[in-house]
């Protein structure tokens, strides 16, 4: 049976005779390179392509290659199967359907690899065949080069790259076009060791900064990996929702049918206690039990499957998407790119407490967060909601710091209730040195700060609307901003409450996030003025409550906050890491 490989996956090869084929919507030329333990070719003869030198053990044909791995010299550790589309009329892989690589061994299909998520790549490593403890394995690579085959060859130390590129282009029927045209390609094979001179006006990005190309490729690959994990988490969420909906629908049907069938018997007093009547009741109950058991069996099967998937996913999640107790935090580094998503906690359904779906949301979030201090929680889950709400707010803020590159995330804190020592819950933030300015505590400060944020929102919004981002004042801070409001609405008046409402509604579109910690009950004196504010915030509770609706079926899920078990210490630790990186 053929295995579907994903990037990075490897598989043992049952035979040394291996065929690799690529199917794409555009002409593709295969170029194989043989590399040693140092990931370099021994010489240019280790590049095998159509129209090139013959090498024992490797035969390249159109869109396919046959390898006899046992005939390769012992010092060859890996065979890289490259694919190029240069000269074939298509300028990047992103415009055609994902190419599919088929690996065949011992005459049978062993694996297929669909190379998805390609963009501006013009050349790819499709798969590699490599030695591992005396045997050969195949690994799905699926990574490419915007700068094309030239860059791919450079990475493995090929000297006369122009010749290889020209041959590949010719094989695809295309002209050997600039900058690798016959005119500037060496006509005579060069002596090994000389580097082909590249015309600086050739206009190829790689010529200027090859290391960046590689680093960017690595970053893109890492980002794709994280994207995939994010998709998988949401895939589990969706499957769990659909599976639970099917279960509930079956139970509802079984209950309804039982009621109807019993009604038929029980409404007739004569039949009620007759042997036939009693038998009918038993039959109805048996039918109900059978259907319910069947539904439960399907639910159990699905749940076991999904629990297994979550168990596999969790350890691989990057820190910002992982639980606080995940070991991945040990490897946290200030990101160069903003993280694509952030963990807010876990979700589960009451009938399936063992299936905890990670709740990860895209960054930047398209709405603010409201951490409800008035939450009552589920039965039996009561705790000190208000205190834990502060903990949740601080830990989520710390997470957001960890999610954005150094200096690209700024936090303002508003805490009128926290005059003097009452600021304790926010202490880890206040003492981190990461806040912009002092905590706003009196009415004038609050209003002034909100006013400044509103001005920024208005400026950016107008600039974006008029397509005039260039004309923004140069001193405007373009970093993402977070306004953390503690104990809302304490210390707010109608004006500042209205200001906050505008920030909540307009901010997310222009990079301003809001976390409001407060209780809706406390804000009743503002009347309907604040209704839009609550509506546009995503409500979270520090104690478990079932208020998060999934987007597919609309079932209510129990949200459980993920708080560091070490209390404020873990948060403080993370903040000090972030602060340390900031200072560097």
């Amino acid at each position: 049976m053929s295995t579907e490989l994903v990037r990075g996956q490897n598989l043992a090869l049952p035979d040394t005779r291996v065929e690799v084929e690529i199917a794409a919507q555009c002409p593709v030329e295969l170029v194989a390179t043989l590399v040693g333990a140092d990931d370099r070719v021994r010489g240019d003869d280790d590049v095998i392509q159509r129209g090139g030198v013959d090498t024992v053990g490797v035969a390249i044909r159109q869109a396919g290659a046959t390898f006899e791995l046992d005939k390769l010299p012992a010092e060859i550790e890996r065979v890289l199967v490259g694919a190029s589309l240069e000269g074939g009329g298509v300028d990047r892989f992103g415009v055609v359907a994902a190419p599919v690589v088929t690996v065949r061994a011992a005459g049978e299909d062993l694996a297929t690899f669909r190379i998805t998520d390609l963009g501006s790549e013009r050349a790819l490593h499709t798969v590699e065949l490599y030695r591992r403890q005396g045997a050969w394995k195949v690994r799905a690579v699926g990574q490419g080069y915007e700068a094309g085959l030239e860059a791919l060859l450079r990475d493995v130390g090929v000297q006369n790259r122009a010749r290889v590129v020209d041959r590949a282009r010719t094989a695809l029927g295309g002209p050997a076009a600039a900058p690798f045209s016959a005119a500037n390609a060496p006509t005579e094979p060069r002596e090994p060791g000389t580097v082909p001179r590249v015309d600086p006006n050739g206009g190829m990005a790689w010529a200027a900064a090859p290391p960046d190309v590689e680093r960017e490729a690595a970053q893109r690959a890492a980002r794709r990996e994280v994207e995939k994990l994010y998709e998988q988490v949401w895939g589990v969420f969706e499957d769990a929702a659909r599976s639970a909906a099917a279960y509930r629908s079956a139970i509802e049907y079984a209950d309804g049918r039982l009621d109807k069938e019993l009604e038929g018997v029980l409404n007739d007093p004569a039949a009620r206690f007759s042997p036939a009547g009693l038998a009918a009741q038993d039959t109805a109950r048996d039918r109900h039990r059978a259907l319910a058991e069947q539904a439960k069996a399907v639910l159990d099967r699905d749940t076991a499957q999904l629990v297994g998937e979550v168990e596999q996913l969790e350890p691989n999640l990057p820190p910002v998407m992982a639980r606080w107790d995940s070991t991945s935090w040990a490897g946290w580094q200030a990101p160069e790119d903003g993280a694509p998503a952030i963990r807010l906690g876990d979700l589960h359904l009451p009938e399936r407490p063992e299936l905890r779906v990670p709740m990860v949301l895209r960054l930047p979030m398209d709405r603010g967060l409201w951490i409800d201090t008035g939450a009552t929680g589920l039965e039996g889950e009561r705790g000190n909601g208000a205190e834990r709400a502060d903990e949740l707010a601080v830990s989520l803020t710390a997470r957001m710091f960890a999610a954005f590159p150094v200096g690209e995330f700024k936090v303002h804190v508003i805490d009128p209730a926290g005059k003097g020592t009452a600021a304790a819950p926010l202490q880890p933030l206040a003492s981190s040195g990461l806040l912009v300015g002092p905590v706003a505590t009196d009415a004038a400060d609050v209003s002034a700060l909100l006013g400044r944020i509103l001005d920024r929102i208005e400026l950016v919004r107008m600039a974006v609307a008029n397509d005039a981002v260039d004309s923004l004042p140069s001193d405007l801070d373009l970093a993402r901003q977070l306004v953390l409001v503690h104990d809302f609405p304490f210390g707010f008046d109608d004006r500042s409450a209205a200001q906050l409402r505008h920030i909540v509604e307009e901010g997310p579109r222009v990079g301003v996030h809001v976390i409001v910690v407060g209780s809706r009950g406390d804000a009743e004196s503002f009347g309907p003025l604040l209704d839009p504010l609550w509506r546009s915030l995503l409500r979270l509770t520090a104690i478990p409550e079932d208020h998060i609706m999934d987007p597919w079926i609309g079932l209510p899920w129990v949200y459980t906050a993920d708080l560091p078990s070490g209390g404020a210490d873990a948060t403080r630790q993370l903040l000090s890491w972030v602060a340390g990186t900031n200072g560097r």
């Binding site: 499957d239 929702a241 659909r242 599976s243 639970a244 909906a245 099917a246 279960y247 509930r248 629908s249 079956a250 049907y253 079984a254 049918r257 259907l291 069947q294 539904a295 399907v298 597919w552 079926i553």
Partner: protein, 190 residues
């Protein structure tokens, strides 16, 4: 290999290769109406609707149509209402995840209806097809255009068979502009 159905033909289909069907899609496509000169505005847009009804023990228990894009049990999804037929290929699709269909549901019927009441005789390039979504192979196709003086079509039926599902192509014309209108005709195929 796709089966081209003719009117009223019933065919039982197993998944090619003998495996079990797990994900099935009904695709529906038609062409936007061609305006005829000066009085084109008098013409009504053609709005065909793909719908699907889920049955348990011969009683309808759930539906998926433009008014409920996901069946209550979550197993059937509609890609959304196309009101004019603009665009190539399938204009509307209904996707059934057979592994998620609740245990009590034993039959699923796909239908097509012409919301504005044009008959299939008047509608250009209308077709309806059933696709095995896991392999993207067409299981059945029915050409609706020129299909006579009808506004509805009962397309196909999925039904439980052993532990898996089977499909029967029905392809029977009916009268009705909405799913509700078609329901009595559907019951005859259970």
């Amino acid at each position: 290999m796709a089966v081209n159905m003719s009117k009223g033909q019933r065919i039982s289909l197993d998944k090619p290769g003998g495996g079990e069907l797990t994900m099935v899609r009904m695709g529906l496509g038609w062409d936007a109406i061609k305006r005829r000169g000066l009085f084109g505005s008098r013409e009504k847009e053609v709005d065909l609707d793909a719908s699907c009804v889920l049955f348990a023990e011969n009683q309808p228990v759930d539906v998926c149509y433009f008014g409920q894009l996901t069946s209550k049990d979550g197993s059937v999804r509609h890609t959304g209402d196309n009101l004019t037929g603009h665009g190539d290929g399938d204009d509307e699709s209904i996707l059934v995840d057979l592994s998620r269909v609740p245990v009590h549901v034993d039959q699923i019927i796909f239908t097509v209806s012409s919301f504005q009441g044009q008959t299939f005789q008047e509608i250009e390039n209308a077709f309806c097809r059933i696709v095995d979504e896991t392999t993207n192979t067409e299981l059945a196709r029915y050409t609706l255009s020129g299909g006579g003086n009808y506004t509805g079509q009962i397309m196909a039926k999925l039904y439980r068979h052993g532990t898996g599902w089977k499909m029967a192509a029905i392809g029977e014309p009916a009268h009705g502009q909405t799913l509700r209108d078609l329901l009595p005709a559907l019951m005859a195929h259970l």
